[in-house]
């Protein structure tokens, strides 16, 4: 199998899972085995066939079809997409295990539909990762939106329906009104939407128009959750936790910031942004989002809501990295896609495990729970450290590069923003751990039939995944160099 065919195959591969899920829907164990097998083989394709080619400097790709003259559905893998593809496909496996534990432990209904939509969303994420032009990216971006809608509204309650309305309204609304317009504009100005090293807009669009175009891209990508288009993300927390974990901490939201990063690098070109200063305003929007979302997170008692606002804040790190338009910023942003993915998915896994194991959803209810669920809370601690950006977690590296980038661009304010944000994230994440381990359990704990000292974790499949991803965060600390060398192929 050549890498080029592997690229097309990888995007279509999750659809095999869909077929298996449909065939085996009456036998849940076989059905889940189908998901796991597909996930494992998908990762093997991405990491085993495509990665070596990209590492060697290749750009494997293929053209599917030409929809209208000049507008092609095509794939081409470059380092940023490679990283995103690896993260999405790799964490899908872990999440699939977790889903089994969670969905069964939580007695969720319509599990077949759940797994089908999940697989389609992964296909969409890989399509976004491997897209060779803005059009292809847009197609798969919309596919993600549509396939995750049934996941957000999974429970079918009034609350879920309202959340779904906001989800679809913001994500589709911004993409149609702004992103599509930006795409048409780009095409009209340059005659192409292909992602090209160095960008395609230089000399074609300039002055304030460049800023407007960047704004259309940045706000058109609602999945990046830049304020004021962030409300869909907390709303989406009504979904089952595996969805919040993989999709609303990794695949969906990362597809958003990935889009911005990719557009900045391959459509605008960081040189163009750096010389014209057209991205300057975006650093301020990102900085505002970073700080404001952190402050909101501090005030949220619901654990998933707190994590959601934390995600909004962290996503803007990547937007900031892109908007700074330095090579360190791009590398830091790309690296943060990985690091934050591992950190945040751990936190969501833990939140779900707490929900399944102890039926708690609010931070204020977590007193003393750490002694009952030491693995869960231990993983939560490691995930928190990674999100905060402390060694020995991978998150420290991406933050390092982002700081470096701010320094390179002489944006001292942005350095301060990053530091303040770290402090704020300590403020909203550490209380969870502190309450769990150091506060005594409330005396009137209604499920006191389990002794307060004995270990009573959620089912194994709910606990193991966060431990795995937390350990992954440590491993990444030591292997950040590999990611760096891969990403350094993006910027000369």
């Amino acid at each position: 199998m050549t890498a080029a065919t592997a690229v097309g195959l990888a995007v279509a591969w999750p659809l095999i899972a869909v077929a298996l899920i449909v065939v085996f829907q009456r036998w849940p164990n076989l059905r889940e085995a189908g998901t796991l097998l597909t996930g494992g083989s998908l990762f093997a394709i991405v990491a085993g066939v495509i990665l070596p080619e990209v590492e060697a400097g290749g750009r494997p790709g293929m053209v599917l079809c030409e929809v209208v003259p000049g507008l092609r559905l095509a794939f081409e893998v470059e380092p940023l997409g490679m990283i995103f593809g690896l993260v999405a496909s790799g964490l899908w496996i872990v999440t699939s295990f977790y889903s089994i534990g969670y969905m069964r432990g939580h007695h969720e209904k319509n599990q077949t539909r759940f797994y089908i939509c999940f697989a389609i969303a992964i296909s969409g994420a890989l399509g976004v990762a491997f897209a060779a032009n803005v059009f292809t990216l847009f197609v798969f971006y919309e596919l993600i939106t549509l396939s995750t809608f049934p996941l957000v509204t999974h429970s079918g309650t009034e609350e879920a329906r309202n959340a779904g309305r906001m989800y679809l309204g913001i994500l589709m609304g911004t993409s149609i009104a702004f992103l599509l317009l930006a795409m048409v504009w780009t095409w009209l100005a340059t005659g192409t939407t292909d992602f090209t090293p160095g960008g395609i807009l230089a000399g074609k669009v300039d002055g304030p128009q460049l800023m407007i175009l960047l704004a259309l891209y940045a706000f058109g990508t609602g999945k990046a959750a830049l304020m004021p288009f962030h409300r869909w993300l907390p709303a989406a927390m009504v979904a089952p936790t595996p969805v919040s974990a993989l999709l609303h901490a990794v695949a969906v939201v990362k597809a958003g910031v990935f889009t911005i990063l990719k557009v900045v690098v391959y459509v605008f070109g960081i040189d163009l942004l750096a010389t014209t200063g057209a991205g300057r305003w975006l650093t301020w929007v990102a900085a505002f989002t970073i700080i404001a979302a952190s402050c909101v997170a501090l005030g949220k008692d619901n654990l998933k809501a707190r994590l959601a606002y934390s995600t909004i804040s962290q996503l803007s790190y990547i937007v900031l990295g892109a908007a700074l338009a330095t090579s360190a910023g791009v590398i830091g942003g790309g690296m943060h896609i990985v690091m934050h993915a591992f950190g945040k998915i751990t936190l969501f896994f833990c939140a779900g495990a707490i929900m399944v194991g102890a039926h708690k959803t609010e931070v204020s209810e977590l007193d003393g729970l750490g002694r009952r669920m030491p693995f869960t809370f231990g993983a939560f601690l490691l995930g928190s450290l990674s999100v905060i950006g402390l060694p020995p977690m991978g998150g420290s590296w991406s933050k390092w590069f982002l700081m470096l980038s701010a320094a390179e661009a002489h944006q001292w304010v942005m350095m301060v923003v990053l530091m303040v944000s770290s402090l704020l994230s300590i403020g909203y994440l550490m209380p969870v751990v502190v309450r769990g381990f150091f506060r005594p359990a409330p005396a009137d704990a209604h499920d006191d039939r389990h002794s307060a000292t004995g270990i009573h974790e959620a089912p194994l499949l709910c606990v193991l995944p966060p431990v795995v991803t937390a350990v992954g965060g440590i491993v990444l600390f030591f292997y950040a160099g590999d990611i760096w060398s891969l990403l350094s192929g993006v910027v000369p």
Binding site: C65, V67, V68, P69, L71, L73, F135, F138, V139, E142, L146, P150, T153, G156, R161, G164, R165, L168, G169, M172, G173, I176, A177, L180, L181, V184, W185, W187, L188
Partner: protein
Amino acid sequence: MEGLWALISDDLPALQIAVPLLAATLCVLIRRPTAAWAVAMVVAWSSFANAGVLLHRVLTTGTISYVEGGWPVPWGIELRIDLLNALVLLVVTGICAIVLLAAPRSIDAEIPRDKQYLFYAVYLLCMTGLAGMTVTGDAFNIFVFLEISSLSSYALVSQGRTPRALTAAIQYLVMGTIGGTFILLGIGMLYMVTGTLNIVDLANQLALVGPNRTVMVAAACIAMGVGIKLAVFPLHIWLPNAYTYAPAIVTAFIAATSTKVAYYVLVRFAFSIFRINQTFDGAHSSAIAMMLGIAAMFAGSLVAIYQDDVKRMLAYSSVAQIGYMILGLSFANEYGLTGGLVHLFNHAIMKCGLFLVLACVLLRMGSTRLSAFAGLGRRMPLTFAAFVLGGLSLVGVPLTVGFVSKWYLVLGALEAGLWPVAVLILLSSILALVYIWRVVEVGYFKAPPEGADAITEAPFSMLLPTWILIGSTLVFGVWTSLSVGVASAAARMLIGGGS
């Protein structure tokens, strides 16, 4: 077979008119519903094949000119098929053929059996009129065929189950007659000025005469008349009632053909006869058309959001979609006109598919009110999935035909330097998302009422045409050589001033 082909091969354009006309009379003589349906099917599908052959011929050998009775142009009546009407003809005959597949089961529930043969007869007459308007190269003939198609569509609309169908048909008749009269007036004035009715000749004479007052008034009359037929906002008031109260199958048929042919006539007059972008200073008319188009997009979509009857909702959606087509024409550049023409093709497919979905729902639920859609996602999964896909196409999600239309319309707006209009086009498609998603939510989230009858999926004979069309919205959303290829070539020809 060979001999037969040799015999008719040159007369294919005339057969587009003659065959359905004769078959309509045949249906009246047969008087049996199934046999009449079989006749109509044979005729419609062979016309569709005929249109395919004609399009192929136009693409390979250029414009076809067919003189009736051998009288030379411009004295004799000419049938003239170029890229533009070849495409429209393909759409019209294709829709006629596909809709007929669903007709027997659907009209069984709405039209008494002993009158069904008349339905097929009138259906074929309507098809005759539409095909005639499309293929003719004679301005007066456009009027004649317009009346044939209009009169038969009034009759078709009046077949609806409720008495309101009659008032809707009367309203349609009054408006349509006014429109027809305006068109006749306009054509009469053109004849007065130029002494000819042949479209090509008319265009050449007009170029010599120039835009004098009579010609301007003629143009205004024709725009007004065609505007009524096309249901351009605010001349659309006949449309919602006609679409809502007509039998489901009739709505699917008329919505996808009648307004499309009217749009064709408008484009033909504007670009082939008046050549608004060359001989005339079209700036004013373009500006008016643009404002009407934008008003239609928003008014239609906003009103659609508040409808309780899904059929009526889609009718208002049609008003909005017609606005897109008008807008494409108003840009008077290649991209914009391509967008308008591609949308003619695309909208015909998706709206016909959606109205067939409603025909399925009406058959099983007895109503197309929003409440009838409760839980339909589970009760009629295939039908409802078709609705969702068709709806997404209306919104303009990529890989559906709606996206292709929108792409060219936005390109046209940007090419004309009209930024705000491009934004408005996109904003209005978000409105489409709102009205479609209202129905989707009810279908998937609302439980059917307690003790509701067990509802089964629609019959195969109706699902098949529905899915042919909905499938086409996906196929032509990815493979656009036919739709965009022909439309952009036609647009280039029209902008260049040819005919």
